[in-house]
Amino acid sequence: MNFEDSPEEARYRTTVRHWIADNAPDMSGLGAEQRRNWHPGHKEIARRWQATKADAGYACISWPKDRGGAGGTAIEEAIFNQEEVRAGVQFTYFMTGLHMLLPALLEHNQDALALNRVPPAVRGDEIWCQLFSEPASGSDSAGIRCTAVRDGDDWVISGQKVWNSGAHVADYGMLLARTDPGLPKHKGLTVFWLDMKTPGLEVRPIRVMSGESELNEVFLEEVRIPDSQRVGEVNDGWKVVISTLMNERAALGSGTGLSWRDMIALAGQTPSWEGSVMEDPAFREWLADYYVNVEAIRLLSFRTLTSLSKGEAPGPASSAGKLLWSNKTQEMTDQALDIQDHFGLLDGADLAVLDGAFQHRFLWSPGLRLGGGTDEIMKNIIAERILGLPGDIRVDKNVPFREIPHGR
């Protein structure tokens, strides 16, 4: 048990902290609008920072040097990430491409076409997005209906994708399509990669209930791509999907967002019957409960770090952290509104407490319990993969996909 850096880790941390301080982009000149994710100005800063990191060997620290990485360790990469967060210069644009999609692509395809995509992605010049989910395949992630039909040396793809984060700014996408609906659900799928400007592909932003539009629908109408952009074997795409998930690393140290410290600050400045809300025993009991849960998320991320440092893959236990984070965030924002009382209704940046940050997070928090696996899927993962309980009874097993019952 040790919750402090080892001497080598501490040295590495000092080095990168200085380097970040010397090289990080100055964001002080940006307005509130420009600091928002996906704003062109924000994105341009992120791109330049990624290039700066690539030049100094900090872009993909744990990748081998011949792929544009630094040949470093997972723990070094994690420390660098923590220091980026600390300095306020962590960006999410490149994570899907660099942490999930490109490693899986290179695992299956190492031709020049694929290898050429690596350097611009590492430098942040090209952004990748995932084109897996579909309207009818939410929790049932293999329930893909988008089809790819072989036509000579090409594939012709038609269908609809959804929840594609960043598809509206992405340069390339990795897509999952059904190539044989006569096979059982997981068997007839194939993965492809493609230029997001390929004719027949259209991206439409989705507005979510909190107002943002960084998620998208992607419509594909007879999109034609060469067989050389196939990833892995025909009808063996589920294996590639698993590869992308295996490469997904718990976002270490990304404890951004409102925390128990913000709740203490809010309660301290909010009047109550006597003194501030912070002096209210009922609030204090709530705070204690909230703290032990969110502190556990932080501490459990150290376990992932410990696994990484031993060269082990993080296990399904990260589902616990995901469940805690999403549920406790929703609970916390609800509590924040409640202690503000009637005034908690206000969400405008001009009048609301803390520019309406709690109100915005309140409207955004339901999405946390859905994206990246719902509460229900997380609990199934824990029950089945950790506790060894039986899977749900499956009526769609070993049934040709086209015969599986479905709703609208």
Binding site: S133, P135, A136, G138, S139, D140, G143, V162, I206, R207, V208, M209, G211, Q269, T270, P271, S272, W273, V277, D280, A282, F283, Q330, D334, L337, D338, I339, Q340, D341, H342, F343, G344, L345, L346, D347, G348, L351, A352, V353, Q359, F362, L363, P366, G367, R369, L370, G371, T374, D375, E376, K379, D392, R394, V395, D396, V399, P405, H406, G407, R408
Partner: protein, 383 residues
């Protein structure tokens, strides 16, 4: 003993539901959401006024239609179900109840007919800043027949013709009646988490006002008076919350029957079945306490203060839980702007805060329970 609406009340409720499903589909609330100014749907409001609903609990002597308070509860349940974007709660559950409870004869005769017909809109203005309301945190002042200060937020404050304002008078906090369309009133729309229920910041600058009530001058008991008015509001709002929570449960149930995952309706999974059963139980708890509140309100029973606080605590919890888990049941689609789930999620939280938050009402309830037990013990030792 009758734990139910009477047949006549049921007929009124059915008729109200049919009427509202016709004139107030969710598209009407969505229209206000997309274009929040002025914060209500004027056409819908006119139609509702024509039904005489605003005067349901107002005696005929004041231009009302005297259906009764249980009838008003039945209408509230349907308005909550319909998510009607109208100032009914402010004008009827707050302003009209305040006048009925604490207004002078002249004030009632003067103002209630306009409220009853729906031609005039009233509201209450009490909050000024974050946190629970207390005497020390009121800075709006009344002296020499005029108000000065700022109230924020005031639901329906931008469209109300009249308001009852909590301010510091000579004797302490008191309630004052103000013509919002008169001189010295500056109103500014403010953004809230539920744009379908518009709100404003209202600044008074030497605005003519008069104390609420027959004494003609304040007694310094404005906070207690407001609490008694809000007890009545709480019961009526509880019916809006119960109506909304029921509808949200139906939405979740319908979606669970319609949506498939892994070749099965998602409603066949116990995770979803038991989630919806949990919503049902909370809704039953809310309904039971609301019904008891309706009886206490209609019969002006001594149980009113306890019943009102219990109805509010139970209904606020049920509606919020139902809306939260309805989105969860819908999955990603439930999180989109286009889906209707968030309209209810917003409204549930609006209703849960608009006359004070859960922590405030829970303590009121506990205080009242302790007082009741003390009375019971005193009676027992007397006997």
């Amino acid at each position: 003993m009758n734990f139910d609406y009477s047949d006549e009340q049921k007929a009124l409720k059915d008729q109200a539901r049919r009427f509202l499903s016709d004139v107030s589909p969710l598209a009407v609330a969505r229209k206000v959401l997309e274009a929040p100014s002025p914060g209500f749907d004027a056409t819908l409001w006119t139609r509702i006024g024509e039904q005489g609903w605003c005067g349901a609990a107002i005696p005929e002597a004041y231009g009302g239609f005297e259906f009764g308070h249980v009838e008003l509860c039945a209408l509230a349940e349907e308005l909550g179900r319909a998510l009607a974007p109208v100032p009914f709660a402010s004008s009827v559950y707050q302003f009209s109840e305040a006048l009925l409870h604490a207004g002078s004869e002249a004030q009632k005769l003067n103002l209630l007919p306009g409220i009853a017909s729906g031609e005039r809109i009233g509201t209450l203005a009490f909050s000024e800043g974050p946190g629970v309301l207390s005497a020390g945190r009121i800075s709006t002042r009344y002296s020499n027949g005029a108000l000065t200060g700022t109230k924020l937020p005031v639901t329906d404050g931008g469209i109300a013709h009249h308001g009852i304002v909590l301010a510091l008078g000579d004797a302490g906090p008191d309630l004052f009646l103000v013509d919002f369309s008169g001189n010295g009133v500056t109103r500014q729309a403010v953004s809230t988490i539920d744009p379908t229920r518009g709100a404003a910041s209202i600044t008074f600058q030497n605005t003519p006002a008069e104390p609420l009530g027959s004494a003609g001058k304040g007694s310094g008991s404005g906070l207690e008076q407001l609490r008694r008015i809000h007890d009545r509001t709480a019961i009526l709002l509880a019916f809006e919350q119960v109506g909304g929570a029921d509808r949200v449960l139906e939405m979740a149930r319908d979606y669970a029957l319609e949506r498939y995952a892994f070749g099965r309706q998602i409603g066949s999974y116990q995770a979803i079945k038991h989630k919806l059963a949990d919503i049902f139980v909370k809704n039953e708890v809310a309904r039971a306490n609301a019904y008891y509140g309706a009886w206490a309100l209609a019969s002006n029973a001594p149980e009113l203060p306890v019943a009102a606080a219990a109805a509010r605590v139970a209904a606020s919890e049920a509606y919020w839980f139902a809306c939260r888990e309805n989105i969860q049941t819908h999955g990603g689609i439930g999180f989109t702007w286009e889906a209707d789930c968030h309209l209810f999620y917003r409204r549930a939280r609006h209703l849960g805060l608009v006359i004070g938050a859960q922590r405030d009402w829970k303590r009121r309830l506990a205080d009242r329970l302790v007082r009741r037990v003390a009375q019971e013990n005193a009676q027992r030792s007397e006997a």
